[in-house]
């Protein structure tokens, strides 16, 4: 029990911080530009594929640095030459545009690398158990993921709160027009934010792919969860995205590792149903089975009782 708790907590932390790397960019882009970027997770996938391709030629470590930069440039280019032109047609057009881009990226990835999972693995340097607790190994690579995520989080925090660029970004979140009238080049800030946001998604892809897999469905698999995170935490709130990422990361990991189910619950209440009961499927359901549903359940409850999300200041 203790080992499951400790390992679930660690894994939840790794997964949660990974979600934050994705959701932070998404929420920054949304709050500043009003664009809910449906293609955000596609940049996460691009990060993974770029890193895989680069790692073949130049090795894991240079790819770790270069792939997110390449993704960031792709994101900035998408803003500059795509979204900026679509902007004048309103938010619906932008939404549909990013939706289309998500499909396009998925098709391009399949066209180049095929539908199969790619053999992109953790580097040999990190391919060993960092420690063993109760006969269970904790891989060094996961500790590395944790380390990178925390470093990115701290860097983001410092840039946003301590630098002038960060202040401009914070100001542009609430009053982009005013920031422009004070002499700051808002379109440039938008493009840079989009680039950095997508680069963060790229980093997430690069470091997560050796664990979660590099396959064309990876964007779709994570895409819906990061929207849950952003809405749950409050659209436009970085603090909200952070708390929601950790909550959902940990809750989801716990749900799949604790094999408790309705029979245990019913036994506690002193109830028992026969195997021929017509609701037998419901009475035998277990936590790991409904684990993937829990974030969505949390989202629905949040939307009913607090549509602003945890720390949000505007309605969804």
């Amino acid at each position: 029990m203790i080992e499951t708790t400790i390992f679930s907590l660690l894994n939840g932390l790794v997964y949660g911080l990974l979600l934050f790397m994705l959701s932070s960019g998404l929420t920054l882009i949304f709050s500043m530009m009003g664009v809910l970027n449906f293609a955000h997770a596609s940049f996460y996938m691009l990060g993974a594929y770029f890193a895989y391709e680069m790692s073949i030629h130049i090795g894991f470590w240079p790819a770790l640095i270069l792939a997110p930069i390449a993704v960031g440039f792709a994101g900035a280019a998408l803003e500059r030459y795509g979204l900026r032109n679509v902007h004048k047609y309103g938010h619906v057009a932008e939404l549909v545009f990013t939706f289309g881009i998500a499909f396009l990226i998925e098709e391009v990835v399949q066209f180049i690398w095929g539908k199969d999972q790619q053999p992109y693995n953790a580097p040999p340097l990190l391919d060993f158990p960092l420690f063993t607790l109760f006969n269970v190994d904790f891989p060094a690579y996961k500790a590395f993921m944790l380390f990178v995520s925390i470093a990115i989080f701290i860097a983001l925090l410092v840039v946003l709160t301590k630098t002038r660029v960060g202040l401009i970004i914070q100001a542009a979140i609430t009053h982009p027009h005013m920031v422009g009238m004070l002499g700051h080049n808002v379109p440039l800030v938008f493009m840079a934010t989009f680039g950095v946001g997508t680069a963060l998604a790229g980093i997430a892809g690069v470091i997560a792919a050796p664990v979660l897999g590099t396959y064309p469905g990876m964007a779709f698999d994570l895409g819906s969860i990061i929207f849950v995170v952003v809405v749950f935490g409050g659209l436009g709130s970085l603090a909200g995205a952070f708390v929601a990422s950790l909550m959902i990361g940990i809750v989801q990991t716990f749900a799949v590792s604790f094999n408790i189910g309705m029979p245990d619950l019913l036994a506690l209440l002193g109830l028992e149903f026969g195997a021929d009961h017509f609701l037998v499927d419901l009475w035998t359901i277990s936590l790991p089975q409904i684990g993937p549903l829990i974030p969505y359940l949390m989202l629905i409850i949040m939307l009913i009782f607090r549509p602003l999300g945890l720390f949000g200041s505007r309605e969804v």
Partner: protein, 231 residues
């Protein structure tokens, strides 16, 4: 310094500005007066490129219609908007810092100038601007724009909704701005401050300039005041 010629602006199909002509000379305080809805704020917004418009606006002999807001700002044209638009999550000092176009690039104004004029801002320098009172926010908005060292500043309804004591303070600041050689285009509905400090006034009606003169001439012209200004 600023010369607006035949400015037309549209909101969708409505033709709001129907050929506005006005000019502001160097060191001048000029007021643009008129009732609500006559196009005063639209004139400012058109000059800043926030509204679809055509016509000409020369600032320091350069056409600004069609430029982006940050480009206009870099030419030395400052704006204080009507809805204040302070950055609520940033502190007072950070708000002022963002008024500067580059970090620590001071012009005619320093932090201390602002804090000397409005001691409230000094006391609350490290407080998030969102918790300031309406009057303090108005001060902050004006000071923030001044930190960018504009040569002409357009101020939209600076006294709206403010207590009389603060209105007096705003009036003093406007005079101080003029003393430092900054021209002002004051957009106002009320005449109190405008007539006291302006060297010339324009009156707007139905999207056009319907009167131009000195404050004294306007005081004496009862017909214009009755037709276009008084409620």
């Amino acid at each position: 310094m600023l010369k607006v010629t035949d400015l037309h602006a549209y909101y969708g199909k409505s033709h709001i500005l129907q050929g506005v002509n006005l000019h502001v000379k160097e060191g001048e305080i000029v007021s643009l007066l008129g009732r609500n809805g006559v196009g005063r704020s639209t004139t400012v917004n058109a000059l800043l490129g926030n509204v679809e418009c055509h016509g000409s606006a020369l600032y320091k002999d350069q056409e600004i219609i069609g430029l982006k807001p940050h480009q206009i700002s870099h030419l030395g044209l400052g704006i204080v908007v009507e809805n204040r638009a302070i950055f609520p999550t940033l502190t007072v000092r950070q708000n002022l810092a963002l008024g500067m176009k580059k970090a620590n690039k001071f012009g005619r104004w320093s932090y201390d100038d602002m804090f000397d004029m409005f001691s409230n801002l000094r006391e609350r320098a490290d407080v998030p601007a969102g918790v300031l009172s309406g009057g303090e926010q108005q001060m902050l908005t004006m000071c923030r724009t001044l930190m960018g060292d504009p040569d002409l500043i357009m101020i939209d309804e600076p006294t709206e909704g403010l207590a009389p004591k603060i209105v007096t303070q705003v009036g003093k600041l406007l005079e101080e701005i003029a003393n430092r050689g900054v021209s002002i285009l004051l957009v106002e509905q009320k005449l109190t401050i405008a007539l006291k400090i302006s060297s010339r006034v324009y009156v707007m009606g139905h999207g056009q300039i319907v009167y131009e003169g000195t404050p004294d001439e306007l005081r004496e012209n009862e017909q214009i005041r009755k037709e276009w200004l008084e409620v």
